[in-house]
Symmetry: C2
């Protein structure tokens, strides 16, 4: 086995976020469940957009945000995901390449438009998301560049994309290629509704395929259908392949769960939380960058928390400053 | 003459801003003159975009920002300007309507794409802009809805658009319609390079057509080819129709120059200047809203300064909070 030449390759949805401020009452009126992500069709996207305030557009996509974060730390990263050859597709491709991520997936030349996520940010800085997946669902097994997967220390997959059959097949191909090359697979449960739709698949992934698992409290409790975080932690501890399980808990910090220990990690201080979009994505970025650069688990969690703190201090789900600047002379 | 039913209608370029952080050295490398706006063609736009860092997209356009500001204060406003029927055109139309501005100009169905302005924001919060006008140059006299112009207290025109012959004809038609209806015309010089290209026309506009003129120091000095602000102020004072001339001076505040007085107005306090894009546009918004609601000139300048202060405290050229919230119980 040769040494990896990439730190992280991610496979996920290529999405442009459309971000607007919203009142709590707007969420009710639009039929949205606060704090969650709902998949919507084109007609519902148009309807919600019409009801949305003035917005800004910024590249997003959960796993794409994570590799953008890895690159911002100075790590080497690649992304696999589909856009359409339209203006928002150009925006997505520009932004991920501009931060140094290799991105070679061919844009679709027909079919639905580039994916959009309408992000409603309430005054408490919480984000409620509705995603029109559009061209992102067109990812298929042939798009998985097994050379890139084989070159990367970590292949990072998002649960969000586990929906269209061809995309699931693409994710399975990426997992197989990573295993074949003796590399590690990392996975995020993404969202409680997402877990609810695919619980059996996700448990099987943890048992058989995933080396590093990322989840928040709601997701990990939903996965094992338990009502306490303690029960969820014990259900996942040392289970199957997943030797490292990270549970994020917002302002309460995070837990790193291994077969024989639970490490409690504080959240990094934030002067003012503006928009929590991307918090989990950037946490994963810092953690994977930490693992790639040989940090202990508590050091990985510290880098993860710093990256998450940066991204929630402003609007948008990608870092506004190079995350490498957050790493101290001792390497964080 | 019936009472106006609109406060301000603006005619200008319909533009989406593409905003990224840049180092001073990047400007040199890309051949850009700091603090100015340069018009570029599609090929140069692609070249500059390729050299730009990760960006966010936000609706812009100088006069469009101004009417968005008027609406944000609670004023009634309309906008006339051309987009293409593409994704960025949809973004522009959505954002200006979402803030309450009436916008009915038909999008172009063929020809160049919606205008983009690449905005490079340096660490000192200064913005350097390059604009690909695309579909915005397709505005023509037939797009000027003379009923809307006739209904508005102020018709506000941007110097930026004074370039393609058809657009100039459209602006002239708007001026004629405003005069015919007994309404007032406001004009911004927009940019020193812009003034340099059209000095003779702009002086003639001031002499014959414009009631309220907006300029910054560099623009007004360029207009009269003088090297001191005092000389420029004396050159414009009481000249032609322009009974009210407003000169903005950044952190030094602004001057309101009338035939017999010069009112000095301080800038409003800003905790941290993040991005000066839109400062002049929002100053004009506050001033015109003040005039529309019967404020004295110093009160207009105060509203103007508050609006400018809001927009320079964050990335992007449109208000992030309702400007009506800045107006005190005594009406500002």
């Amino acid at each position: 086995m040769t040494a990896p030449t990439l730190d992280v390759v991610a496979v996920g949805s290529a999405i442009v976020d459309v971000i607007a401020a919203a009142a709590e009452a707007d969420l009710d009126e639009l039929g949205l469940v606060k704090g969650t992500m709902a998949l919507i069709d084109a007609a519902r996207a148009d309807e919600l957009y019409a009801g949305m305030g003035p917005a800004i557009e910024a590249s997003g996509g959960s796993a794409a945000n994570t590799v953008a974060g890895v690159a911002s730390f100075g790590g080497s990263a690649a992304f696999i995901g589909r856009v359409r050859d339209d203006q928002l597709g150009q925006v997505f491709a520009h932004d991920i390449r501009a931060v140094g991520v290799a991105y070679e997936t061919a844009p679709a030349t027909t079919g639905p438009a580039t994916a959009r996520c309408l992000v409603f940010v309430t005054p408490d800085a919480q984000r409620t998301m509705t995603t029109y997946l559009g061209a992102a669902t067109g990812l298929e097994p042939a798009d998985i560049d097994t050379d890139v997967i084989g070159a990367a220390r970590f292949t990072y997959l998002e649960g969000y994309l586990w929906d269209p059959p061809e995309a699931i097949a693409a994710l399975r191909r990426a997992i197989a290629a990573a295993h074949d090359a003796g590399r590690l697979v990392a996975f995020t449960l993404s969202d409680p509704f997402c877990v609810d739709r695919h619980r059996k698949d996700f448990v099987q992934l943890i048992d058989e395929d995933v080396d590093v698992l990322f989840a928040n409290e709601a997701e990990i409790m939903s996965l094992f259908e338990v009502s306490s975080l303690t029960d969820a932690v014990e259900a996942v501890r040392g289970r199957g392949r997943a030797r490292t399980v990270v549970v994020t808990m917002g302002a309460l910090g995070s837990l790193v769960v291994t077969a024989d220990a639970t490490i409690e990690c504080p959240a990094a201080a934030v002067e003012r939380v503006v928009d929590t979009t991307g918090a989990g994505d950037l946490y994963a970025a810092g953690f994977l960058y930490g693992l790639s650069t040989g940090h202990e688990l508590d050091g990985c969690a510290r880098l993860a928390s710093l990256a998450a703190a940066e991204v929630i201090s402003h609007v948008g789900a990608r870092p506004l400053v190079p995350l490498s600047g957050l790493v101290g002379p001792a390497g964080g």
